[in-house]
Symmetry: C2
Subunit: 335 residues, 2 copies
């Protein structure tokens, strides 16, 4: 039969000191006299004391793991954000648990529950496209788990946020197109309830307004994928009042518009200007290369992590709404 393992309490009893003294002596804490440290350490060695590894691990896993919710992992901007979070987390000694919602509200709810069960110390999240209820996030907050939203934020909850400057980015892009001669610029956006759609559309509208170009609702369409752009653009290009510019909510969609222009023989940028949003690998690969609004995804991730850590390790009182600047990168799809 194995002898039972001796514990810190056993050592304390045998040497007539307190358990906390034993614990600190074993860690060679200088608050404890050298004499006592030697006494405790020798006794522990002789009696083959082993620290309770489970308890040690428990502390590790509870205190330094952050849950990250990503709508899609195979996506340039989100990869950049995740990379930014991972880099700052690694430097700060935190682990990140990564889960993707696959743009599904139901999946997002499951992830939030699993993060709660895993006792992550904080969450960094971006909403799925169809998420419009937030109880699952409220539940995390109720359990004392702080949340920082990034990009697709939740305005219904009082949490920290990091967004890219969608409004200014889109205003600058549309202003540039107007200044280079465009008069009929279409806006291809994502789901209208998303903050990114609202802010980018507002930038578009305000740029039109500044240059006294009348707004036409029929020129603002729901189109946020390459496939959809290829499907709907040719008819527009062959209509009577055809567009002379497109501002698209992402590069994928802008690349689809470019493809559609080639299909019907419309010259870019001579007859039509195109501007995307993201500046990922796609923007450098098209011919001509895309004019686009550069989103600093890695910067978004780094900020989100820093804000969360401030919340966890700092006083955590002040709330924060960080805006990461964008900038317009002019390439070959605009004049």
């Amino acid at each position: 039969m194995n002898k039972p393992q001796i514990t810190i309490k056993d050592i304390a009893r045998a040497l007539n000191v307190s358990p906390s003294t034993v614990s600190r002596a074993l860690k060679n804490n200088p608050d404890i006299s050298q004499e006592t440290r030697t006494l405790v350490q020798n006794y522990a060695r002789e009696h083959n004391y082993k620290p309770n590894e489970l308890a040690v691990n428990l502390r590790v896993s509870r205190s330094n793991t952050i849950g990250v919710i990503v709508p899609q992992l195979v996506h340039h901007f989100f990869s950049c954000v995740l990379s930014g979070i991972e880099k700052t987390a690694a430097e700060a000694g935190y682990n990140i648990i990564v889960a993707q919602s696959n743009e599904s509200y139901e999946q997002e709810v499951k992830i939030a529950q699993s993060f709660l069960a895993a006792r992550v110390c904080g969450v960094i999240a971006s909403l799925a496209k169809n998420t419009s209820r937030y109880d699952h996030y409220q539940e995390l907050l109720n359990n004392g788990i702080p949340i920082v939203f990034y990009d697709r934020i939740c305005t219904g909850l009082k949490t920290e946020r990091v967004v890219v400057d969608d409004y200014a980015g889109s205003f600058a892009a549309v202003e540039y197109m107007i200044q280079t001669g465009c008069k009929r610029i279409f806006f291809y956006g994502a789901a209208p309830h998303l903050e990114i759609t609202k802010n980018r559309r507002n930038g578009y509208l305000d740029a039109l307004k500044k240059y006294k170009i009348p707004v036409d609702e029929s020129m603002m369409l729901l189109c946020d994928t390459r496939e959809r752009a290829i499907a709907i653009t040719p008819d527009l290009l062959e209509s009577e009042n055809r567009p002379d510019g497109f501002f698209a909510i992402n590069d994928e969609t802008a690349a689809g518009i470019l493809y559609a222009c080639k299909l019907v023989g419309v010259k870019v940028p001579d007859e039509v200007s195109i501007c995307g949003f993201t500046d990922g690998a796609i923007a450098q690969s098209t011919d001509p290369k895309l004019t686009t609004v550069e989103q600093h995804g890695e910067e978004v991730g780094k900020s989100a992590f820093s804000i969360l850590i401030e919340k966890l390790e700092g006083d955590g009182e002040k709330s924060c709404n960080k805006i990461v600047k964008t900038n317009l990168v002019v390439r070959g799809t605009t004049k």
Copy 2:
């Protein structure tokens, strides 16, 4: 003053049964008589017993977290692999901790140590480009943590592996280029010690051999980025014995070659054929679109997770070397 929480031991003492009986009775385990279960459960309720949540979480966090090492998160293939791992892990109720080595051996060593400290139950990893020592992985294995390598595998350790069929993919690509008229095909590869470079070069060499095309060492170059391809390709295209084909180790490099051809006015595919490897977003965005070898990254990730789970939950005896098929996607950069 708060009354101290009662423990399982207190209940056991009060009811004169063993602590393990109490524990099982509280979980309603049918091994314990209904009478004893009722007795224990009533006593626990009356005395406001609360299970030790920390211990419960500990079990959760120890038993269901997998560590994943990714060389670069902002990379189409690795994003796909990660997505595949995440999806299968979520279905199986596992969390994944994600860390990126940023192609650094030193960072990889730190990650392995942190995974050990966090007591992950298994690791899925792909080597950094400059990793050629494996002690940090051996240390994980010594601690009973199984490892599945993917893509950039480690042949020096006895572990499970998932690779894409680099050899067959590259053989098929080069054979196709030869069959459509190419006689001087250059190979642009990554670091020569990497298994993916070796296997893809072997596929290239065997295809040349099959068609009795002499091998020329000066036609196999180290070039695995867009920038490097743009830097070195124009001179080759203007040399006397200029290439009539390029087989590149990734799409990024192939897109760089295409760009270089346009720079010097060489027509693709009329004068030069180009084939990449990956089939990510870039391949669809170039003009013409890239002929490339499709790597099923998500499939690689799903397989890696399944093999790890088999190791963790199954008998775990048989070792496994899974090869995920590739296929050639012919588009506009080849005849």
